[in-house]
Amino acid sequence: MKPEQLNILKNIDKPALFIYLVLVFIGLANIYATEVDDAYKNILDFSQSYGKQILFIAAAFLTAAIILSIDIKFFTAFGYIIYIFFLLVLIAVLFFGTEVKATKAWFHIGNFAIQPSEFAKFATALALTKYISSLKGKTIRFGNKIKPFIIIAIPAILVMLQNDTGTTLVFSAFFLVLYREGYISGIILAFAAMAVLLFILTLLINEFIIIAGIAGLVILISVIIRKRKAEVLQLIVLGILLSVYVYSVDYVFENVLQHHQKERITILINDEVDMKGPGYNLNQSKIAIGSGGFLGQGFLQGTQTKFNFVPEQSTDFIFSTIGEEWGFVGSTVVILLFLIFITRIVLLAEKQRSAFSRIFGYCVASVLFFHFAVNTGMTIGLVPVIGIPLPFISYGGSSMIGFTILLFIFLKLDTKRLERF
């Protein structure tokens, strides 16, 4: 076994491993900042969340070591079994779990609480990867096209029954994988993305400015491709359609959306809302980030952070601590780290010779990206308040271990890039 383990350490992707460790460290430092109290400065105080986070990190490292040392066939061969096992656990939590803040997603064992939905992500990724890669070389029929959606939908529905909207939405991240593998066409993805983007923009900015922007873009692109007359025509039609859409957003918002859906969006647009509800969190988060300025207030110097003005700051709103104490420079560094990390994973995935490894790599990148985009977007008021953690940074054992498993299965697969199996 020894030579093989050495081999793994030599073959493992160093940049990815390095960024992983940096993110974990940034997380721990910022959790310490949110919870630390001048009177109790001992980092190894296991009654405080930063002390517990150290335990979670240790557990995550142990898990990573185990994944790296066991035969990867365990994951490739037993993908469906692992998936079905976690589906059963998700069902069990509905009956035997405990309710925390109206969400029935937790098992309590002694002092620790486990959130099975955090593990359902990697299980779903394994099953989805196994199914799609098993179709390689076969003609994809209509039935085969539907099954991946079912694999994603079952755990998503079970999580929805736990009343955990945030984690349910995470499963939509797998659509990016389906897009890459050709199960969803680019036009659908583009339209969906464009629609969401314009919807939010319209509520933020005056619609006439956006229509002017669209017109400007259409003219610019038309000038560039002016020789292809047909395409210019198509572009103009598209521009007109988008303008009509933008104009209709206000109408949809006022007349079509349900009250609670509207509320989540109004919080984004306008903080003249119930200051005890999610709007309060968002406003406090924005004050914390805004007060960071360009260089930040410095480690352990953030007053909004220290005075506990931002609720749930060590979990879902950890980014506000980074924003306050490390300023624009620090938050940009964290965003860049995530971008490099996720892009690196995609590039590694594309290098894989086996379809399984490639698809799984996309699963990892998509899930991490979704969490990053929604969590960060939420704290800076670009995305509705949806409670999901920032990978490797937010406080919490289940998410830390869950993301670590997801990442290291891929890193392990990557070490075997040159082998065929």
Partner: protein, 613 residues
């Protein structure tokens, strides 16, 4: 090239689009952060490290009035000196201690406690600073960063009476704070009496002001021009049914006695006076010293905190004969004209009940007038031994149902918390002791004269008097008539609770009770020009001197007041409870008492330390 690679290549370009999505998202985020952190000043508090402070505006707690609009309970403002330990720096401790009038030791202790609670949240440092010292301290407070003043109010009582009815207000404990988001550490909540029952109406709604303060904890201004501030709503006032003059008089009469007085207006169920003696001054259970004094009161062997009017359970003694006789009439085992002879005792199969000397034979009205035990025993046996019932279990249950229709054995669903239900044994209880059907009417004979397995509270006894005054029904006795303004009548308590006995029998009983006072056991307490109806009782007390008991109502034909009086360890009902009740009635109906020597005798009586008399 294999088929796999061709298939993959078909979508290979999509990786660029995916990476583009990542990068665009990142770009938007960075742009947004630049806007939030560098461009937009509205979220910036950074320059001088300003922080927000939440100051709670406590609403004024509702006031409490008596039935004639006299103010009984009001609020007095006071100020808590609060500290945020994390903001305390470089202060002159000696000067501070001098200003506050505290010792260095107190300062260190409080600071330690506050740090243990939280470095960044406010704790009470010095409780209840008076208005005068507040003005003085406020001027100098800027020298002591980390300290600020939180205004609150304290309860104040016009008269030192009715402590049990009002109850008291205290700091909400951890159990309440954890279960009810409205309450925060240091908040006050009604803990007993009507302060507890009407807590939600009395407390109002808190408001909050968000202030921006600098490092020296000086207020710079409102956060976002007060956009998120809320205004407190004052609590609602309570208009009680108490007559404060009667309450004061009752407490005066009950001095140096253990027991209680409950006076009710029969037509409305409104409680006019509720006295439990010994009592305490409600002004004692207020403010800084509350916990300490409460503990002291708890240790007092006479237990002044115990509300005897609602919680003491006595066998009713002869007072109970009015209920049993009404049941006998309704069951038709006896008629007003039924005459029985009394040899001075009642005896059957080895069981003897003694009676006192009185004329014989007597009819039903005379049996009440003289409180004849023989008549009561025969009547009770006839009720229990009726042929219509298959066994004693059924006939006993039938009898018991009458009692519950009088409100006995249950707690009234009213606005006085912590009342007890009293006790009426069930047939199952006797089955368990004597075996099924192993008991007879003779076994439970003592119930016929109000002794044995019976417990009634003074409130229940007063309600029996009110029921007879109303000739057959009662309205749930209560102490609050209106909430918010005097005209918004509390409609929760206006339903007539009918007893299972017909009105005609109550007319007989009212006449009998009138006779008790005119020329029977209660004649000593007769009031000139007032037609009072009553019934004496002497409660056997195995632990010492008997308890004196009396129920009454007046005037007989248009009752305005019904009353129960119990004086523990004082002897015969006719000697102490009846005179006291007659004074209360005289006071309430005429506004003053003419029988001064009579009054003086009661006021001076001392049954707590009899040798002081």
């Amino acid at each position: 090239m294999t088929q796999i690679n061709q298939q993959t290549n078909a979508y290979l370009n999509r990786k660029f689009i995916i990476i583009a999505i990542f990068l665009v998202t990142g770009l938007i985020f960075v742009a947004r952060l630049f806007f939030l952190q560098v461009v937009d000043p509205s979220y910036k508090l950074s320059a001088s490290k300003n922080i927000l402070r939440y100051i709670t505006d406590y609403p004024a707690r509702g006031l409490i009035y008596d039935r004639n609009g006299e103010l009984l309970v009001y609020n007095e403002p006071f100020y808590d000196l609060m500290v945020i330990p994390g903001q305390v720096r470089d202060i002159d401790t000696t000067e501070f201690c001098g200003l506050m009038g505290i010792t260095r030791d107190f300062f260190d202790r409080r600071m330690k406690q506050a740090k243990e609670y939280s470095l960044y949240r406010g704790s009470v440092f010095v409780r209840q600073i008076s208005k005068n010292s507040y003005a003085y301290i406020q001027e100098k407070l800027h020298k002591f960063p980390g300290f600020y003043v939180q205004p609150r109010t304290l309860r104040n009582y016009t008269y030192p009476v009715a402590a049990h009815t009002f109850g008291y207000v205290g700091e909400a404990g951890p159990g309440i704070i954890n279960n009810n988001p409205y309450y925060k550490a240091g908040d006050y909540i009604g803990i007993s009496g009507i302060e507890k029952h009407y807590e939600e109406q009395l407390r109002g709604e808190k408001g909050v002001r968000i202030k921006v303060v600098d490092v020296l904890s000086r207020e710079i201004g409102s956060h976002q021009r007060g956009r998120f501030d809320t205004v407190p709503t004052a609590g609602k006032d309570l208009y009680t049914t108490l007559d404060i003059n009667l309450q004061l008089y009752g407490e005066r009469l009950m001095q140096n006695k253990i027991g209680s007085i409950v006076a009710i207006e029969p037509s409305t169920g409104e409680i006019l006076a509720l006295v439990s003696s010994p009592s305490y001054d409600p002004n004692l259970l207020v403010g800084r010293a509350r916990t300490q004094i409460y503990r002291k009161l708890q240790r007092d062997t006479l237990n002044p905190i115990f509300n005897r009017a609602l919680m003491a359970q006595y066998p009713p003694g002869s007072v109970f004969k009015v209920v049993n006789t009404l049941i006998g009439l309704q069951e038709n085992v006896v008629q007003p004209g039924t005459r029985l002879s009394c040899p001075g005792y009642y005896s059957s199969r080895g069981i003897t009940v003694r009676c006192r000397n009185h004329p014989s034979p007597i009819d039903l009205i005379e049996s009440i007038k003289y409180s004849c035990n023989t008549y009561a025993s025969i009547l009770f046996r006839n009720v229990i031994e009726q042929d219509d019932f298959e066994n004693i279990k059924e006939s006993f249950t039938n009898w018991r149902n009458y009692l519950t229709s009088f409100g006995l054995g249950n707690v009234f669903d009213n606005d006085l918390p912590y009342a007890l239900s009293g006790l009426i044994a069930t047939s199952d209880y006797y089955d368990r002791i004597y075996g099924t059907n192993g008991w007879r009417s003779l076994t439970v004979l003592s119930l016929g004269i109000g002794q044995g397995e019976l417990g009634t509270t003074p409130l229940q006894l007063a309600n029996i008097a009110a029921t007879i005054a109303n000739r057959g029904y009662y309205i749930t006795p209560h102490v609050v008539k209106a909430i918010g303004n005097p005209d918004s009548i509390n409609t929760k308590y206006n339903e007539k609770n009918q007893t299972a006995v017909d009105k005609e029998h109550f007319n007989v009983m009212a006449e009998a009770m009138f006779q008790v006072v005119e020329e029977g056991t209660g004649r000593f307490s007769r009031i000139e020009d007032i037609e009072m109806a009553g019934k004496t009782g002497t409660v056997q007390n195995p632990h010492g001197e008997n308890h004196s008991a009396f129920i009454a109502f007046a005037p007989k034909d248009d009752p305005k007041i019904a009353i129960s009086v119990i004086i523990e360890n004082s002897g015969y009902g006719a000697t102490w409870a009846a005179p006291l009740a007659s004074l209360m009635i005289e006071k309430y109906l005429t506004g003053e008492v003419n029988r001064k020597w009579f009054e003086q005798r009661i006021v001076e009586a001392n049954f707590i330390n009899p040798e002081n008399q």
